[in-house]
Symmetry: C2
């Protein structure tokens, strides 16, 4: 498209050019572990589910989490994340059992969008909870009347689940761009 | 730099033959606005610089920001972000003035890594400040003894600068994957 049109006379260079442009695209990154439908991909999804569920449970079992907006938001964000990751883990298990490939461009696009949104929400929730936890424990020294350890654990688990979802997102996004 | 000089007379067949072998990879996404070395890219960088500097100034002018870890972290993060964006804006201005392309794979890789790190730090800082600001204003109703409006403004500016850096990061990352 952006190539200067140098058209002297005969078609041969044109045919030659077309052969060079088309084929090397489709086959790239075909078997990368960590993508949907691979064992590493499934392991990443299971990690996400486990850590989000732990984070959700720890935060939801503190008596005073509903009084702080950021803690309520964490529960909502990791709840959404766990549902999303669990759904994709089930699809991965199915794909591995019946040996089907999930390398469909539309599917990868949806995965990348979903992973991008859920990971951003989880990271935002983890950061806001971290800010408040540090405020309570370090800046105000009010751990005696708050469940600092539980808040810290829930926040740490949310961060770990974000670390686990990031490779999934970047692999899907990379694969989408490389197609 | 990478474009062949088109001299009128005899070299055409030779240049044409070479064009068919190498370039189909290199020229992809050549003119996408928002990439380094384009006017939209420069506009994005300037937006980032402006909003981070506003956020930094607003937060740094509150008297009690050093008492809260998250607010100190915001100052550090948007400070780093503003320096990074300013440097790249200067490079963009230079590239536009001398009409040079910045589409070097190594350069794009460094841009993508730098944008990824700075945008993550800025977003984390904005989220933690948002958590604390909402805690102070909505959950505790302590705006009478705190600079809620300033905290909110600084946080909002940090979010806007994150919105401005995200396209730069995704375009660079996409371009890196598409090469």
């Amino acid at each position: 498209m952006s190539r200067p049109a140098v058209h002297p006379v005969e078609p041969p260079p044109f045919i030659d050019g077309r052969n060079d442009v088309a084929p090397p695209r489709r086959v790239r990154m075909k078997d990368v572990e960590g993508m949907p439908g691979t064992f590493t991909g499934l392991a990443l999804r299971l990690c996400q589910v486990i850590f989000t569920v732990i984070s959700l449970t720890v935060m939801a079992t503190t008596s005073d989490f509903p009084s702080v907006t950021a803690f309520r938001y964490l529960v909502a964000a990791v709840g959404l994340q766990s549902l999303w990751s669990l759904s994709l883990a089930i699809i991965d298990v199915y794909a591995l059992c019946v040996k089907r490939s999930l390398r469909n461009p539309v599917l990868i696009f949806m995965y990348a969008i979903g992973d991008g949104i859920t990971s951003t929400l989880t990271f935002a929730a983890a950061c806001s909870c971290a800010g408040i936890t540090v405020l309570i424990s370090n800046d105000l020294n009010r751990c005696d009347i708050n469940h600092c350890k539980k808040f810290m654990s829930a926040t740490a688990m949310a961060f770990i689940s974000w670390f686990a979802i990031s490779p999934s997102f970047f692999l899907n996004f990379w694969s989408l761009a490389a197609q």
